[in-house]
């Protein structure tokens, strides 16, 4: 499990040098800046970052679901040998929702409030399987709801989203995402709107599903607990850039980038694992793009960090770090 990449051949999804920017008034703000990511079969890749790191923009860009103010400036998103960024909208629709699906943070805003759960599921199933009959689709819907752990699925089909709790709605939206047997599930903060006990239910469900359906999951989150529980590999993002890439175990036991170290230190304080730990007080992001993005918060910043952006450097055993300390 530790090195999921070697066991599973070529990546299912490959992002290369992706740049996404937003137009804000007359300015152009780069949210994702030259990100490259690989996802292998049946592995969970976590993309970790705080607000403003570009992690959600990245996940939307994969499926070309960005708002009109955003533009993909450069890059390749390779899925089964095809560049998703070059497909026509019609061709993309065969992949989006069918081979790559998404689960969002807030299920109540994702599900349509005026349609019954059953109608939404059946519609999705029929859209992607035109040869299926209504009854077959209904049977499939029941099977799906059962597989995501919804008690009495036949009855659940007749409910509207507002009649279900947040946790149940999240299960329904996972069922919707799985309706077409996708090979990749993008989960953007799938549990941050849920209570702890419900979060545990959803996490267990995602882990079970991964095992049962040999699914790949791209987990977008700020919660390192989720990462430790679910992910095989991690990309740490800061200010639109990947700062560190590593297998989960060695990221936690041996973080290299000063930002990753700050994240883990903060988590140690929050979890009370290290009562003497202190984190320094700067926050916010640099607006200029010269040099290292993290330098104004970095305790080890060198003069070189002011002027030159460090490249991503591979260290031993699959670890990749963007920092002059290791350059």
């Amino acid at each position: 499990m530790n090195d999921s990449r070697r066991e599973n051949g070529d990546p299912v999804l490959s992002i290369r040098d992706l740049v996404v920017s937003y137009r804000v008034g007359r300015r152009r703000i780069v949210a994702v800046d030259g990100v490259s990511i690989d996802v292998y079969r049946n592995e969970c890749v976590a993309i970790v970052g705080e607000s403003g790191s570009g992690k959600s923009t990245l996940s939307l860009a994969i499926m070309r679901l960005l708002p009109p103010s955003a533009a993909i400036e450069r890059g390749v998103v390779l899925f089964k040998g095809r560049n998703l960024l070059e497909l026509s909208e019609k061709e993309l629709q065969k992949i989006r929702g069918r081979e790559i699906s998404m689960v969002f943070q807030d299920p109540t805003s994702y599900l349509n409030p005026v349609y019954k759960i059953g109608d939404q599921l059946v519609e999705t199933i029929l859209t992607h399987n035109s040869d299926m009959s209504g009854n077959e689709a209904r049977a499939r819907a029941i099977e799906l709801l059962k597989s995501v752990g919804i008690p009495s699925p036949e009855r659940a089909l007749t409910y509207y989203p507002h009649q279900l709790s947040g946790g149940m709605n999240q299960r329904v939206s996972i069922a919707l995402a799985l309706a077409t047997n996708p090979s990749i599930l993008i989960a953007d903060e799938p549990t941050s709107a849920l209570d702890l006990t419900i979060q545990a239910q959803i996490l267990r469900l995602l882990k079970d599903l991964m095992r049962r359906l040999s699914l790949s999951i791209i987990l977008i989150t700020h919660d390192l607990g989720l990462v430790a529980y679910l992910a095989d590999r991690v990309y740490v993002m800061y200010s639109g850039k990947v700062m560190e890439e590593d297998a989960v175990g060695s990221m936690f036991s041996n973080p290299k980038h000063p930002y990753t170290q700050l994240l883990l230190n903060s988590v140690r304080i929050i979890y009370g694992l290290d009562t003497s730990a202190r984190v320094e007080r700067t926050e916010g992001h640099l607006t200029d793009t010269k040099g290292c993005r993290f330098r104004h918060r970095c305790p080890y910043a060198l003069s070189r960090c002011e002027s030159q952006e460090p490249p991503l450097v591979p260290l031993n055993s699959g670890k990749v770090v963007r920092c002059w300390l290791y350059g």
Partner: protein
Amino acid sequence: MSRLLLEAIEVKKYYPVKTSLFKTAFVRAVDGISLKVCEGEVHCIVGESGSGKSTFGRLVAGLEEPTSGTLRFMNRDVIEILRGKNKKDLMWFRRNVQIVFQDPYSSLNPRKRIREILARPFKIHGVAYDESALHELLESVGLVPPREFLDRYPHQLSGGQRQRVAIARAIALRPKLVVLDEPTSALDVTVKAQILNLLSELRERESLTYILISHELPIVRSVCDSVTVMYFGRVVEQGSSRTVFERPLHPYTIGLLNSIPLPSPQAKAIELAVMEGEPPSPLSPPPGCRFHTRCPIAREDCKVEEPPLIEVNGGHLLACPVSVREYGSDGSEIIAKMYLESRRQRVP
């Protein structure tokens, strides 16, 4: 033991909800909470959404009046002070009990500069202040240099900075008790850690007492001295942080503690406890123990009789007779295992 600062006895808060034209039901948000908080202590109130923890915080801060029960602050009856005509008493209470809310985006007036926001408590309470007092306040919450912040508006600050302003405002008049209602939930991980550091520094320097309301168990665990675990408006377990977190006896607390994924390299190998089902509807709480619908050790009586809160060990209160009677002090491990196993059988 230091001096008792706050005491709540069987505090209740019911909200009327119209269920149809002629019928009114009551949501029993807080349904009989008792607790004691001593000076200098951090007392945490833990629970999921709907457990009534925030409502209780609002009652303590005097923002709402309890439906029944007694609240005593420094040996004085809070409800009497709130209802009384004596403005001086009310001012005294407000000055000594402050609250910090979860969302610093909505708790600071967007049209006022930081200067005005911080000067407000001084003005309201007729306390003399000058520029240097405001500077000192900002410095004490780590907003340096203060000059740079005083003339800004809230929208010009980051989330963490705003939360610092909200904290500065709360401690401006050196209150005795600060209610912190989810003070870090809306913040990023690194900022969260900074605010926690700040809160513990301030507590020492200003000798404050905190009531921390949170659903973030790891945080609670790392900062609190004593803790109250709430489920559905009721206390299920209460005691010192050590007893409750290291030897929890209530099945709800045990389930909760084992359902958090830890940020450690071993976490992948550790299964999460899964509490089946969901919290019931607040309009119709189940009879008997409110947790019986999700409890792995529920017995027939649990569905009928509401278990009382009983002291099981020095200061450790528990509302579950089954756990102690049948599993004794090994309850923590045995019940934790039940959560894992009951689930394992059901996975296809």
